[in-house]
């Protein structure tokens, strides 16, 4: 699977998603289900992971359902209809753009002889390291009458905010998902099909349109729906771009009103919409897994010549520029600008400490919490364990601001000393992103022969010792990859941190967003560069060298 001669787009362990999208075909030996029922304490541990999010969301739902009609007014009025339409429009635009870019990039890199596929593949995935609000920040700071572009070139580029700005920022944040699944699917596609079509006289474009694309549709559909989910859930970019999407309005309702109920009502509505998209994504993914997993021989790569080649390079180059080079350049330029203007530019150590501590703790907790879920899913597979896995994925898909609001409301009332504590925040981080840890760990555990654990049991060791002596040593690489994913995602996380953090606890994400919101671009840029620097190491391991990250 890893050393496919035809293409080298990094393999399926996608950052942010881990193995959640699909386990590589042929992974995992055919395993027998253990014949004993799963011990009850394992189920208790597995179900426990659902509590930190499940209970507060259920509580918020109950509160909303029991609320007075006045609170429901916020939902059933013309303005909310506008809100839904606006969010739908943004989602549609972003998904379309991300899909087109993702497919095109995947096809060019995997199926043509453009060259340097590994390099291009990495460039297409690097935007995943950059939070959406940093994209937003860089475009806001670059445009406008006193923006960077105007400064450097004298041309007053129109200010890029609102819908166009949000569209651009979110497209760049989400197209890598589509790219990743499409590239993986293209590599598994039997080239004989396309070759047969060409032999029958179809042009390259026609082959692509009538053969390749339909076969790719399930995988692409899953990636596109993921992009939609991400867009719907995003808070940082839309709030900086001042585009009134659902999440921004929820936050405004929370921050600007004395009663939290209207924000809760809107949150429930957003959750329902997100679940709808999730349901559609699950159905698409189910169909995708019916594909044949025959080993593929090397596909012939289309030759690109002359103008076509130039266009392809231009296309990929533009995406890479917008996705990586431009944002970083703008950030650096703003820092330089700030220093020149005599602003106090310093590394925000308090925020760095907060980010790193929070992310590491979240990653460790997520790895630990992933173990019972994954052991249940792989060794004791049943309809119920599949429901558990799906629930973990649902938690991953809920918009973070709605989860944060539910937990905040719940914590302030019922959780006493845990309210505004770092422990609670870390628990919420870990449970929101648990799916990344379980995805990676599951892919690892599938490779482990269950006989090893049974042998250990037959030698007199109880389940805990077997876990410690045999299972964990053999899956720690995959587990660690999952932990690295959680670390990266937590570093970028914004709305939950905003709402739940302890007094005095700051993270780079909060700092970037707060500074950018008040147009302190130099300060925001500094924090953003520090964030990218800290994210670089796990990102390198996960994106550039995925082989090392998986067992």
């Amino acid at each position: 699977m890893n050393d496919r001669p035809g293409g080298a787009a990094p393999q399926v362990q996608s950052p942010e998603i881990g193995g959640v999208l699909e386990a590589p075909p042929g992974s995992g030996k055919r395993y027998e289900r253990t014949g004993r029922a799963a011990p009850p304490w394992l189920w208790a541990a597995g179900l426990l992971v659902l509590v930190p999010i499940g209970v507060p969301v259920a509580s918020m739902l109950a509160r909303v359902l029991g609320a007075s009609d006045g609170a429901w007014d916020v939902l059933f009025n013309a303005r909310t209809a506008e809100l839904v339409l606006r969010s739908a429009l943004l989602t549609l635009l972003v998904t379309t753009a991300a899909t087109v870019i993702g497919i095109a990039a995947a096809w060019i890199i995997v199926r043509t002889d453009l060259g340097a596929p590994r390099l291009w593949g990495v460039l297409m995935l690097l935007p995943l390291v950059i939070p959406s609000y940093v994209f937003a920040l860089s475009f806001l700071a670059a445009t406008g009458p006193r923006g960077l572009v105007a400064d450097l070139t004298g041309i007053a580029v129109p200010f890029l905010d609102g819908l166009p700005g949000a569209w651009l920022a979110l497209t760049l944040s989400t197209f890598p998902y589509v790219f990743l699944v499409t590239a993986a699917a293209l590599q598994r596609l039997d080239p004989a099909l396309e070759e047969a079509a060409r032999g029958l006289g179809a042009s390259t474009w026609r082959v692509f349109r009538t053969v390749t694309l339909p076969l790719l549709r399930p995988a692409v559909g899953a990636g596109a729906l993921l992009a939609a989910l991400y867009t719907l859930s995003d808070f940082g970019a839309v709030s900086l771009m001042r585009f009134d999407a659902f999440t921004r309005v929820i936050y405004a309702q929370y921050a600007g009103r004395l009663d939290r109920t209207p924000a809760a009502v809107l949150s429930i509505a957003l959750i329902v919409i997100a679940l709808g998209i999730l349901w559609a994504e699950q159905r698409t993914r189910g169909r995708a897994s019916h594909y044949s997993h025959r080993p593929i021989r090397r596909p012939t790569r289309h030759r690109l010549e002359g103008r076509r080649r130039a266009v392809a390079v231009l296309f990929l180059g533009t995406i890479a520029a917008l996705g990586v080079i431009v944002p970083v350049t703008v950030l650096v330029a703003w820092v330089v600008r700030g220093i020149d203007a005599g602003e106090q530019i310093a590394v925000p150590w308090n925020a760095v400490a907060g980010s790193v501590v929070g992310s590491v703790l979240a990653a460790v907790l997520a790895m630990a919490a992933a173990l019972p879920v994954v052991v249940l899913a792989v060794r004791y597979r049943s309809r119920r364990t599949e429901a558990l896995e799906r629930s973990v994925y649902v938690m991953f898909s809920l918009p973070h601001i709605t989860v944060a609001l539910a937990v905040l409301i719940f914590a302030v009332r019922y959780l006493g000393p845990l309210y505004q504590s770092l422990a609670l925040l870390v628990v919420i981080y870990a449970t929101m992103f648990l799916a990344q840890a379980t995805g990676a760990a599951k892919a690892s555990l599938l490779q482990v022969d269950p006989h090893l654990e049974e042998a250990a049991r037959s030698l007199g060791k109880g389940p805990f010792r077997v876990l410690r002596d045999v299972t964990i040593p053999l899956i720690w690489r995959g587990l660690l990859a999952g932990g690295a994913l959680v670390f990266l995602t937590t570093m970028k996380e914004l709305p939950a941190t905003l709402l739940l953090r302890p007094t005095g606890f700051e993270t780079l994400a909060v700092r970037i967003w707060a500074a950018a919101d008040e147009l302190f671009y130099a300060r925001a840029a500094t924090a953003a560069l520090v964030l990218l620097a800290v994210s670089a190491v796990p990102a390198y391991v996960l994106i550039v060298r995925p082989k090392d990250a998986t067992s």
Binding site: S239, T503, G504, L519
Partner: protein, 332 residues
């Protein structure tokens, strides 16, 4: 494995140290005022008194709501807010304790709570910040109602979640009634007024050329001028006494039932000390409320601003309605 465990535990301790204050006396301040403006002052306080201050920065309205939700026994010791409406809301809910007489009497009576539950610390006037390169003073209307005209479409920025703005809306309700206020808000929304998170964002946006005017507090413009002498933003005071020219204080109160009452009292006292008042005058360009502290040069005298006669303690009673109206108008 063991080293990993030690590392994790160390991290956890470090993490809690990040959030908790250290040894000695501590006080937790919920600040509706921005970090940019008052962090330096708080640092000075910490150095002088040795008291550790944990500050939670957020919007005044948001913090008022949070304090109400937290109820008695919440973590806040002091609420330092941008506007009397937020303060009054907390006072009405009975969550403030009465301030010592000397604190309460340090400022003129109209800038403090009649029942002694909160005290104003620095005065601010609502103004229109405008971009001098594209707008001339004569164009600007006499009251905020003028901005609803169609030729002002998209040219006036608001900060609908900001405490000062909501206090202004509450004042408008008190002066002109709910219907008129809702009409104004709706017209502004229909007029595509851009919305920002706060006052400094609006002023920076005006300076940046993103928007032409905005309803903000007076002092931001001066700070901008200090940072970059070539700023193009100027303040415009409404010539008529209207809700839009409200003068009100930022202020503080001590939460009832706080276990750090002494430290909290020291903190509020400090805000009224000559040193702090001078800071407000010369660093943030606000109006010091304690008599005897000179105002920064260039500011119009407080008494010369045409301001409506509104009982500031009543603003809180209309705050809930104000936020509802803002939401109803579609600005939130």
């Amino acid at each position: 494995m063991r080293q990993v465990t030690v590392f994790i535990v160390a991290l956890a301790l470090l993490g809690s140290a990040c959030s908790d204050s250290g040894f000695g006396d501590t006080v937790t301040v919920y600040s509706g005022r921005s970090e940019e403006l008052i962090a330096p002052l708080i640092e000075r306080f910490e150095e002088q008194t040795g008291i550790d201050v944990a500050v939670r920065y957020a919007g005044s309205t948001e913090l008022a709501a949070t304090i109400l939700e937290e109820g008695a026994g919440g973590p806040a010791d002091v609420f330092f807010a941008q506007d009397p409406a937020s303060l009054g809301t907390v006072a009405l809910a009975g969550r403030f304790s009465e301030l010592p007489e000397d604190i309460h009497a340090a400022v003129p009576a109209r800038f403090a709570d009649a029942a002694g539950r909160w005290v104003g610390v620095s005065g601010r006037a609502r103004v229109v910040a405008y971009d001098t390169t594209v707008v001339s003073v004569d164009e600007l209307p006499a009251t905020e109602d003028g901005f609803t005209a169609s030729d002002w479409r998209g040219r006036t920025a608001l900060a609908p979640t900001n405490g000062s703005f909501l206090a202004f809306v509450a004042a408008k309700i008190l002066l002109e009634g709910e219907a008129a206020t809702l009409a104004w808000l709706t017209s502004m929304a229909d007029n595509d007024a851009p919305t920002y998170a706060g006052n400094s964002a609006i002023v920076a946006a005006v300076d940046d050329g993103q928007v032409e005017t905005g309803l903000v507090n007076h002092y931001y413009r001066y700070r901008l001028a200090v940072e970059g002498p070539d700023t193009v933003v100027e303040n415009y005071f409404f010539p008529e006494a209207t809700a839009g020219s409200l003068v009100m204080p930022a202020g503080a109160g001590i939460l009832a039932g706080t276990p750090h009452r002494d430290a909290a009292t020291t903190f509020v006292e400090y805000l009224l000390s000559p040193e702090a008042q001078e800071y407000f005058a010369t660093e943030t360009y606000e109006y010091p409320l304690v008599p005897g502290v000179p105002v920064a040069s260039g500011l119009p005298p407080l008494g010369s601003i045409p301001t409506p006669a509104v009982d500031l303690s009543l603003l809180a009673t209309e705050l809930d309605t104000a936020t509802d109206l803002v939401a109803e108008a579609g600005l939130l």
